[in-house]
């Protein structure tokens, strides 16, 4: 086994609380499939047979009991629960399962929806014997109007500066705008080794990482790191060019130091793999080099290397905001070829269903309805003369006669009263919308 897959599915979805109030994030329906299905499917497609899923008790329970949550994956799922209230970061979670990690790991976040060719990332990892390789994609503009928001939302998030070398693969620099006081500071020693650095902003990190086993071991030793994206990755990127990791001498020294006082926490990362000796020999004897311009060894003798694959095209979404959620729902049908209308759904012949809509299992769609660019969840009942456009209707929703729903998200088990007119709204689970009401851009999220 070359890589072990680890799926991080314990996140609370703090940036879209309206949706995750009743449904945990991994189980939010996207295109009538739980969100977690997408990364699992991604892994299954490339041939993983087993995956470690780090999740919460709640999710585990729902996966095993709730009939609506059908993962339908053939992989063996090794569900590991962590406490929900422990406020564990992704790196903490990885540390939690250190015992299970036998080889290098592929860490995927549960909110990733992509059609990326995973092998690109893994190939970088293999080809360069990298410590870290990750996936990024050009950020997308979300065009759809987000329910419950008036006007256009500013992109409040701070930009990431990502520096790659001339090939666009080697990750040289990473900084978030928030951490920068006075502009971007780049060490000259990096510039000397990599004279051309492309600084990119407007990239979105897919939160998909290939990590060496030694990194997981390092995490186990170093408890101060709690998040992969926030702390571990920037740390590794920086460490690429620090002397202590590069010269073998120093590493020997730290080894000795380690032996001397085991109590001292080892803060240095040790990068070594099983065939280190042989690899070193091959590199020495080979005339291959990763750079040109100076006469130094390949990788300038560095032992820690980070790579990134940046997708130019294709779908890559992280469903962590409402806007992303809506966008993902719109695009999800393109990712799998299943009939848009589930066979068990009862759909009247005298209704209009657009080709870009999905109707879930055992739905009831009555006469004279029109459904366009929308997703209708499992066991939802849609009565006569209803018009649904650009909306996401989750499971078990009842929509009474003559409703008009546009650009909205209706969460599970909601009931929309007769003749209601809902535009750009978010209706929380089990909410009741009074008949004949007219609502625009509001969010009735939690049952208060």
């Amino acid at each position: 086994m070359e890589l072990q897959a680890v799926l991080m599915a314990a996140g609370g979805g703090s940036r879209m609380m309206d949706l995750t109030y009743n449904t945990p994030k991994p189980l939010l329906p996207v295109g009538n499939k739980p969100l977690i299905w997408y990364p699992l499917n991604l892994l299954e497609r490339v041939g993983f047979e087993e995956v470690i899923v780090i999740t919460t008790k709640e999710v585990q329970k729902m996966i095993s009991t709730d009939p609506k949550v059908k993962l339908d994956v053939k992989m063996k799922l090794d569900l590991v629960c962590i406490q929900e209230d422990a406020d564990m970061g992704t790196a903490d979670a990885l540390r939690h399962i250190q015992q299970k990690v036998k080889t290098d790991v592929l860490v995927v976040s549960c909110d990733l929806i992509t059609d990326a060719a995973l092998h690109e990332v893994v190939d970088l990892f293999r080809a360069h014997n990298a410590t870290l390789s990750m996936l990024m994609s050009k950020a997308h503009e979300f065009t759809e109007t987000v329910p419950g928001q008036k006007g256009k939302k500013k992109t409040g998030e701070q930009r990431d500066f990502v520096g790659v070398d001339d090939t666009g693969k080697r990750l040289l620099f990473m900084a978030n705008e928030a951490d920068l006081d006075e502009g971007v500071v780049i060490r000259k020693s990096i510039m000397r080794k990599h004279p051309r650095m492309h600084i990119k902003t407007g990239l979105v990190d897919a939160h998909l990482y290939c990590l060496k086993k030694s990194v997981v071991d390092f995490l186990a030793d170093n408890k101060s790191i709690s998040s992969i994206r926030g702390e571990l990755v920037p740390y590794l990127v920086r460490k690429q060019f620090s002397k202590s990791t590069n010269s073998p001498k120093v590493i020997d020294e730290t080894h000795q130091n380690l032996k001397k006082n085991d109590s001292n926490v080892n803060l240095e990362i040790q990068i070594s793999s099983r065939d280190e000796e042989l690899l070193h020999l091959t590199q020495e004897r080979s005339c291959w080099n990763d750079h040109r311009g100076d006469m130094s060894d390949a990788y300038h003798g560095g032992r820690l290397r980070c790579y990134v694959h940046i997708m130019d095209e294709g779908i890559c979404y992280r469903v962590n905001t409402l806007a992303a959620y809506i966008e993902a729902n719109r695009l999800a049908p393109k990712l799998f070829d299943e009939p848009a209308v589930h066979p068990s759904a009862v759909v009247s012949e005298r209704c209009l269903i657009g080709a870009d809509s999905i109707i879930g299992a055992s739905c009831q769609i009555s006469d004279k309805t029109s459904i366009k660019r929308s997703t209708i969840g499992v066991s939802t009942t849609v009565r006569e003369k209803v018009k649904v456009t650009n909306s996401i209707i989750m499971h078990g929703v009842t929509i009474e006669e003559g409703c008009n729903i546009q650009g909205s998200v209706i969460c599970s088990n909601a009931v929309i009263g007769r003749g209601a007119d809902i535009k750009y709204c978010l209706v929380g689970s089990a909410q009741r919308i009074e008949p004949d009401g007219e609502h625009t851009t509001m969010s009735k999220a939690c049952s208060a």
Binding site: M191, P195, R196, G293
Partner: protein, 672 residues
Amino acid sequence: MSSRGGKQKKGNVTSEQEEEEQPLQAVLVADSFNRRFFPISKDQPRALLPLGNVAMIDYTLEFLTSTGVQETFVFCCWMSNKIKDHLLKSKWCRPTSPNVVHIITSDLYRSLGDVLRDVDAKNLVRNDFILVYGDVVSNIDVSQALQEHRHRRKVDKNISVMTMVFKESSPGHKSRCEEDDVIVAMDSKSKRFSMGTDEFEIRHDLLDCHISICSPQVAELFTDNFDYQTRNDFVRGILVNEEILGNQIHLYVTQDGYGARVSNLQMYDSVSSDMVRRWVYPLTPEANFTDQQGQGCTHSRHNVYRGAEVSLGHGSQMEENVLIGRDTSIGANCHISNSVIGNNCTIGDNVVLDRAHMWNNVHISSNVEIHQSVVCDGAVVKEAVHLNKQCVLAYNVVIGPNLSLPDGTVVSMHHPEEEEEDDDDEFLSDDQEVGHSKDKTRQKAFNPAEVGPEGKGYIWKASMNDTEDEELAQCLWGLVLNPDPESDSESEASEESQDRTFQLEVLGTLQRGLEENIVCDNLVLEINSLKYAYNITLKEVMQILTRVVLEYPFQQQGTQLTTLQYTGSLLPLLKTWSPVFKNYIKRAQDHLDCLSAVEELFLEQDTHQTAMVKVLMKMYQLEILEEEAILKWFSTGATNDKSRQLRKNQGKQRMSLQRKESEEDESSEEGE
């Protein structure tokens, strides 16, 4: 300006035609406005120094002509007569020259800025022009860059004011000038200097050729901004004001082609060897592009060039990359490699030359060894002299016999002090009028230990003056900058040094305050202004202040103080400066920060830890620190073993403090 106005009147079509018709102009600055080549440039302006036996300005003019320039303005200042004479004799001033050369001289030019302001005042340029220095050696065809520049100007209505020509060369390449180690942030698509866009590129593999294509506005901008002195000032000014003025600077990157500015001897060495190795083709030594009689030479294998009438003694070897000028004779059993030898030189027997640059009329006796050195016109090297690396023998110097000059020796007929005296009118330029008739009384005797028994000349020390600026100017061979240590520390080096200088400044201020009895209020004022000058946060100011004061006794009386002596000298100081402290320590957080600074210092000075009790006590008594703050500091968790130990030591003190406190309370109550 008027030319531009005229163009606008005529409209687009005619202006385009006009652009085509107008001759391409160039501004050549034949002065470096620095003294990097001192003392060599005392006798000869830099532009006329021979490189591959041809004056450097000829390379520049040849480059301009071959790129299509039809009118060149040569601006000279230092030794302008010599340059003028040289140009008048050269092919550029013949009536057949495709490139009309105008020589403009003035003693008033002090910088590139002055030259360009003069260009504007005299209204010399009508269109885009090329700006180069007289020491640029290049074979780059800039017509492509020129075309791009014109296109940009046409599309964007004069937004692009300058296109700088860069050559690709990775770091570590020997033609990269250490002092000119540029890092460029550019927009890869538009080739613009920028940082703001979504995607940009940072390049460290570019070499500034010091060739710029300028729009006519450049001269105007220099006039408008009379503080611009150099091109760097200009570039910085444009980039800083880009959003306001909308001017942009673009760059043109060439992959092949050669371009470099001979800005110091290191560069001279590299460019000269590149020349001999034919990197600057078609400007090669045997091409005789200056079209002068007798300059021709033959080119044979291993890049060996021989001028006319060269005689080579029996057993002498010219290994490779050797250029020998006309009428030079070389004795027997010599070994010459990677060297350039000028005209009319004589070289004795058993001479070893490696990377030597010998100019005209040099006499080398037998058994001499020269490595990577420059020997100027008329110099004489006597028997058995050994020149180590990076030596310079300036004009007419005599060295030897039987002497070995250490690395980096500079010998000149001009006495270094003579130059220093001239320094009074302090601008740094080559163009100081040095008295040619020397004041014999002032001249000191040559030191035989330095230049040999028969030697003539004075040693120039590499760093005669203490100030850094002067040192830069003195260093002929250019700086050898140590690569920044690839340390792990994430703190920025520059920031640290800024803190450090701030600390020194604060120390100086306090010292002066003590000596001159300055009122504390004024000290506070001074420290505040320092704070702004170095951009230091208030917290750091306080911590540094605390540190400086606590270290003051060590500073004054050495580090071997006993604890008793230390406290003895420190406590009065604390009293004197307590108003300064009070000014900075106001909020509760300030107290804690101050305490942590105290703690940090005493952790370093662990022999004096016991003094900390007294210091804290005194600070408390002087009402610099509040009791609550001290107690809070004491109770907050110690971050490591050492500080825990420290706190333990303070335990007793805490007790006494509390006791004292209660006593005080009582007494005050009694008083009431």
